[in-house]
Each structure stands twice: as structure tokens, then as C-alpha cells.
């Protein structure tokens, strides 16, 4: 046996253990915040935090001093713990729904209480509503503004995409296909604009947008977000168009098409996946942005602002903050998955 044959499997194993280590460092915090976003309010404040949300809660019911004594099985201490002593069943139902994420109707509770005549205490279990925190978040966050804010965020993102892909795409095509004096300088000036801090534009934009009636308005935000987004689109589309051979357009010209038709028929279809990636990039920029949105909105915040505010006051409601954070993260992660190849190209390709 040679040395090589001996070492290779060990080396590979060590390598994969190393990779697993990196992956766990990345995913463990994500895992906990996802898990927390499903936990009931009561469990979210237990220590140590349960690793996974309960699919089912076990209860016991008996007679108490003031009415009925409700106990819930605590997974951390592994025992039943009394949580409520009341004879008002609606109060009990509200508590079970809001603190334990187990929605229950009053007849169902009455049914369990009826069983008290034959057995004491009564044991029963209820299914938890795993999406309860998300539902609550969308109902209460930003005093009911979460869903309108979500719609506004989508509007802003869509307008940003339209502005930046149309304006930026044209310029990207010019940079890819033409050699002209000032090309390099212009291309980098665009990059400079992107690097310029967004917060520095947002502040003076308050006055400018107020003058044209777009302060506290999705259109105004889209106009501001497009500044950074156009620059990015210029660079992405330029690299996309550079990758598509000019000869295709020339061939179309030979067959009697004009330049515009040649572009539409030959280059555009080939560029579509790349343009889609540029659009998703613009979406992510608009979706995630918070500072400018904080500054440029007042009564019509975006979703990012609502989530930011929920997290900022999170001490009372960690599971709601987690749910809001995850609702915010979901589109970002999905789009990142679709454009992961382009992100790497962008980062690698920015060097020029």
C-alpha cells in the first residue's frame, strides 16, 4: 500500500468535517430563530429554550380556589405547571390561544370540565397552531400596518425593478457594445454613485420629495432606491451583454432586420436570465433597505420598517420578533437561491 492510498480517505473525511463545522456555525443561529418563530409565548421565555416547537400541548384541569385550575405540561421542567385559576372559560380560551398557541373553543373547554365529574384531574391535549406567531405578527405589528406595509414594499420593489432595469439595462448595453471616449470614466462614476451612502441621499430627499408630493409615498422610495439599483443593473447587464456574441445581431442585420429588431430578436432572449437576476438583485436591495425607508416615510412605512420596529421593541415579544424577522427573510433567501450564480460572478467580476 502506498502512502497516498492511505491518506486520501482520511483527508477527505477531515475536509468534510471541517465543512460541516462551518455549515453549523452558519446554520445554528438561523435554526434557533426559525424555531423561536414557532414557539408559543410561554415557551419562548423558558430557559433553556426548547429546541423545537411542540406539535401538541398536554393540559390538566382540576378544581381550584377561584374556579378551575389549568395546568400545562412544561417540557423544560418535565412536569405539569399551573398557569391559570379562573372560572371564566373565555378568559381561559384567550390565554390558551395567545400564550400557548393552542386555539380552543368554549364548548371544547366545557366538554373537558364536564369530565371533571367522573375523574379529577382531567388530562387532555390540544394541537398547537404552528403559524400562530406569524398570524399574530401580521395582525398586531405596526398597529395593524404589517399587511399594507408588505404591499407597499412589493410596490416599491416592483417600481425599483422597472426603473432600474429599463434605464440601467440601456446603459449596460451601451457599455458592453460600444467603444467611446469617456466609457471607462462613466462606468466607474456609476459605481461611485452606488458606493455613496444611501442615508446621505435620503436626508435631503425628504425636502425634494415633499416638494413633488412623493414624501411618505412608495413612488418616492422607489426613486431613491433606484439610484443604487441602476448602478448595479448597469454593471450586471453590461457583463451579461458582453457575454452574448455580437455576431448574432450582425447576422440578423444581414437578413434585413434593423438594429432595434436585431436586439429584440437575438440578444434580448439570450439576456433574459441575466436580466431576471438583475431584477431580483434590485428587488433584494429595495426589500431589505431600512434607513432610507425610516427617513422617507411617516404614516406609510415599508415592511422592513415594521419588522425593524417590532425587533427594536422585542423584549416583550421575542417570538413575534423572530416571526417578523423570518417573514422578512423568506423572500430574500428564495431570491438569493435563484441568483446565487450571479452573485458570485458579480463579486468576482467587480474587480474588472
Amino acid at each position: 500500500m502506498t502512502k497516498k492510498r492511505n491518506f486520501k480517505p482520511i483527508k477527505t473525511t477531515v475536509f468534510y468535517i471541517f465543512l460541516t463545522g462551518i455549515i453549523s456555525v452558519i446554520l445554528v443561529p438561523v435554526f434557533f430563530v426559525v424555531s423561536l418563530s414557532f414557539l408559543s409565548t410561554r415557551e419562548a421565555y423558558r430557559f433553556p429554550l426548547p429546541l423545537l416547537p411542540a406539535l401538541e400541548m398536554k393540559f390538566s384541569l382540576t378544581f381550584g380556589e377561584r374556579g378551575y385550575l389549568l395546568s400545562v405540561y412544561d417540557r423544560v421542567d418535565e412536569e405539569y405547571q399551573t398557569v391559570l385559576d379562573t372560572k371564566e372559560l373565555d378568559k381561559m380560551a384567550v390565554y390558551m390561544k395567545s400564550q400557548l398557541n393552542t386555539p380552543v373553543t368554549i364548548p371544547e373547554l366545557e366538554e373537558q370540565i364536564a369530565r371533571l365529574e367522573s375523574e379529577d384531574p382531567v388530562y387532555f391535549s390540544l394541537k398547537t397552531n404552528l403559524l400562530a406567531n406569524y398570524a399574530t405578527f401580521f395582525k398586531v405589528a405596526g398597529t395593524g400596518e404589517a399587511i399594507p406595509a408588505l404591499i407597499r414594499s412589493l410596490q416599491v420593489a416592483l417600481m425599483t425593478i422597472i426603473i432600474s432595469v429599463s434605464i440601467g439595462g440601456m446603459a449596460g448595453y451601451a457599455f458592453a457594445r460600444y467603444a467611446f471616449p469617456g466609457r471607462n470614466m462613466l462606468k466607474f462614476s456609476v459605481l461611485f454613485v452606488r458606493m455613496f451612502p444611501g442615508v446621505a441621499i435620503a436626508l435631503p430627499m425628504v425636502i425634494i420629495l415633499a416638494r413633488i408630493g412623493f414624501y411618505d409615498n412608495p413612488i418616492g422610495l422607489a426613486l431613491v432606491y433606484s439610484v443604487g439599483s441602476i448602478a448595479l443593473t448597469v454593471w450586471i447587464t453590461a457583463s451579461i451583454f458582453m457575454g452574448i456574441p455580437v455576431s448574432l445581431e450582425e447576422a440578423a442585420l444581414v437578413f434585413g432586420a434593423n438594429k432595434f429588431q436585431a436586439f429584440i430578436k437575438m440578444t434580448l432572449p439570450l439576456a433574459l436570465p441575466g436580466l431576471a437576476a438583475a431584477a431580483m438583485y434590485s428587488f433584494l436591495g429595495a426589500w431589505n433597505e431600512t434607513v432610507a425607508a425610516l427617513i422617507l416615510t411617516q404614516f406609510n412605512p415599508t415592511f422592513a420598517v415594521i419588522v425593524y420596529q417590532t425587533v427594536l421593541g422585542a423584549v416583550g415579544q421575542v417570538n413575534l420578533a423572530a416571526a417578523g424577522g423570518m417573514a422578512m427573510a423568506l423572500p430574500a433567501i428564495i431570491f438569493t437561491f435563484f441568483i446565487r450564480r450571479y452573485i458570485r460572478q458579480m463579486w468576482g467580476g467587480m474587480t474588472v
Partner: protein, 316 residues
């Protein structure tokens, strides 16, 4: 001047006298500029104008007079120097730490392996997460009964009843904490950038180094890293720009004013203290400072990446 080329005559400027060919040739030359014109106009309206307004605002006093008073006010703000030093410390330490670790990881991972696509996607997640989500992640983790202590308990590092009060530390502890949180967000992405750069290096160059008797260490130091230098430059400068503007994670886990940094001050004066007379001027002053610092770094980037090279060279 006498050196005007013979082709350029006055008829060139009287486009109403142009013939078809002249139109064509003008059209061909003008096309790229026409395609770029919308961007230029857009930037004139929505970038240059606000920047001008911002600069003017920074030098304008409460009564509209031209003044340096805003900067005096900012300099006298008790949280100004802490904000400057905090930002500086965070930028220096986080960018350095992130780079050393990311480069190390990229060098170790730099090979073809099964599941690399999946691994790279996982590595992109921290950077893809919105800042508010990252904030939610750490504020729920770092409280005394949060998931970080829970995890340590499950792993047996903490004993029953023991808790670490992460957010109760002094300034140095909190700065270290913020640098570590930023590292978690950033290192995987920087690693991907460097990995992409590494994989563009043709294997022959490194093989040549080994043929001439180089060790892994000398080949990496003398061949790989120098070739990787442009990638490193880009990534470092992009990171610098982002690190200067870090604020949200800090505010979400520590609240306003506990660990002031420059951009946090802008939001603080604009959003949290907006009822004060001076807050608008303060926000303007801080904004100009951040803009100047970031622009300088951005210009440095343009300089090293060859933005000011002659076009002929670049177009080729």
C-alpha cells in the same frame, strides 16, 4: 485653431444641412451616449441634486445663514468622539479579522468537492438575511434567557442555573461582541468572493511553483496571494464601505446611544430626537461626515481598480 482636422467644417454643426451619411455617422457615434443619457439625467436629478442639497444643508445654520456651526455642534456632541472611535475600531478590527479568517477558509476549501453548490448557497445565507432579521436573531439569542445560553447549556459548557449576561458587559466586551456578530454575517460571503478568485487561477501557475521546490506555504505566499490581489482589493474596499455604515445590528441589540456609531447618530437625530431644533442640523452634519469618509474609500477603490486609466486601454 489651425489644427482643426479638415473634415470638421461648420456644416458639421448645422445638422439641418447634413446629408444622410453625415446623419448616419453622427447617429453611430451618438448612440452609446443616447443610451447612457437616461442614467445621467436620473443621477443629475436624484443623486447630484440631493448631494448638493445635503452639502448646502451641512453648511447652513438654523436661520438659513452660511455657517460652520453645524460641525461645531456635532464636534461638541458628547457622543461624537465615542461614535468616531467606535466606528474606527469596528472598521479596523472587523475588516482585518474577517479577511484573515475568510482567506484562511477559502484556501482550505479551495478544491472541487461533492456538494460544493449546496455549501456555497449556505455560505450566502448570512449576507442575504435582512439586517432586521439578523438583529432579531441576536437580540433573541443574547438576552440572559436567550438561545445562546440555552445552546451552551445543552452543549454542557454552561452548568444548570448558570447564565452569561452577554449584553451587560463594558464597552470593550460589547465592541468585541459586535465585531463577532458582524464577522458571522460577513465572513462566509467574503470567503465566497475569495474562493471565486482562487478558482480562476489556472492550476499550472501553482504547479509550476511546486515543481521548482516551493512548499505549500511559499507557493501560497508568493504565487497564489499576489495573483489574488485584485480580488482581495475589491473585497476589502467593499467591506470597508459597508463596515463604516454599520448601525442596525448595534441598535437592535443595544438600543440607541449605548454604543454610538456614525450612521446610528444620523438615524438617532432624525428619527428618535426629531422634535429638537438642532436635530436636523446635527443629522446633516453627521451625514456629510459619513459621505466624505465613504466617498474617500470609494475613490480609493476606483483608483486601485483602474477607473482613471485611459479608455483605449480599457476598451481594447
Amino acid at each position: 485653431m489651425a489644427t482643426v482636422s479638415p473634415e470638421i467644417t461648420s456644416s458639421h454643426f448645422q445638422f439641418w444641412n447634413w446629408n444622410r451619411k453625415q446623419f448616419r455617422s453622427f447617429g453611430a457615434k451618438a448612440t452609446p451616449y443616447l443610451l447612457i443619457l437616461p442614467v445621467i439625467l436620473y443621477y443629475a436629478f436624484f443623486w447630484l441634486r440631493p448631494v448638493m442639497v445635503s452639502i448646502k444643508g451641512a453648511f447652513t445654520g438654523a436661520e438659513g445663514q452660511l455657517t460652520l456651526q453645524n460641525f461645531v455642534m456635532v464636534a461638541n456632541d458628547p457622543s461624537f468622539w465615542p461614535a468616531v472611535t467606535n466606528t474606527t475600531i469596528i472598521v479596523i478590527f472587523s475588516v482585518t479579522l474577517e479577511f484573515i479568517l475568510a482567506l484562511g477558509l477559502a484556501l482550505i476549501i479551495n478544491r472541487k468537492f461533492a456538494g460544493s453548490g449546496f455549501f456555497l448557497f449556505i455560505a450566502m445565507i448570512p449576507m442575504a438575511l435582512p439586517a432586521a432579521t439578523v438583529g432579531a436573531m441576536w437580540i433573541t439569542g443574547l438576552t440572559a434567557h436567550g438561545w445562546v445560553n440555552s445552546l451552551l447549556l445543552y452543549l454542557g459548557i454552561l452548568e444548570e442555573g448558570q447564565k452569561i449576561y452577554w449584553l451587560a458587559g463594558g464597552r470593550a466586551t460589547l465592541l468585541a461582541l459586535i465585531i463577532i456578530l458582524d464577522a458571522w454575517t460577513v465572513i462566509p460571503s467574503v470567503m465566497i468572493i475569495l474562493l471565486a478568485g482562487l478558482q480562476n487561477i489556472p492550476p499550472e501557475t501553482e504547479e509550476a511553483g511546486y515543481v521548482f521546490g516551493g512548499s505549500y506555504f511559499t507557493v501560497t505566499r508568493d504565487i497564489t496571494i499576489p495573483i489574488l490581489q485584485p480580488t482581495i482589493q475589491t473585497a476589502v474596499i467593499l467591506r470597508l464601505i459597508a463596515a463604516i455604515q454599520i448601525w442596525m445590528v448595534i441598535v437592535l441589540i443595544l438600543g440607541f446611544s449605548r454604543m454610538p456609531v456614525l450612521v446610528e447618530r444620523i438615524v438617532y437625530y432624525h428619527d428618535e430626537l426629531s422634535n429638537l431644533d438642532i436635530s436636523f442640523q446635527m443629522a446633516n452634519g453627521y451625514t456629510l461626515i459619513v459621505s466624505v469618509v465613504v466617498s474617500s474609500v470609494a475613490l480609493l477603490y476606483l483608483l486601485v481598480s483602474g477607473a482613471f486609466k485611459k479608455d483605449v486601454e480599457a476598451v481594447k
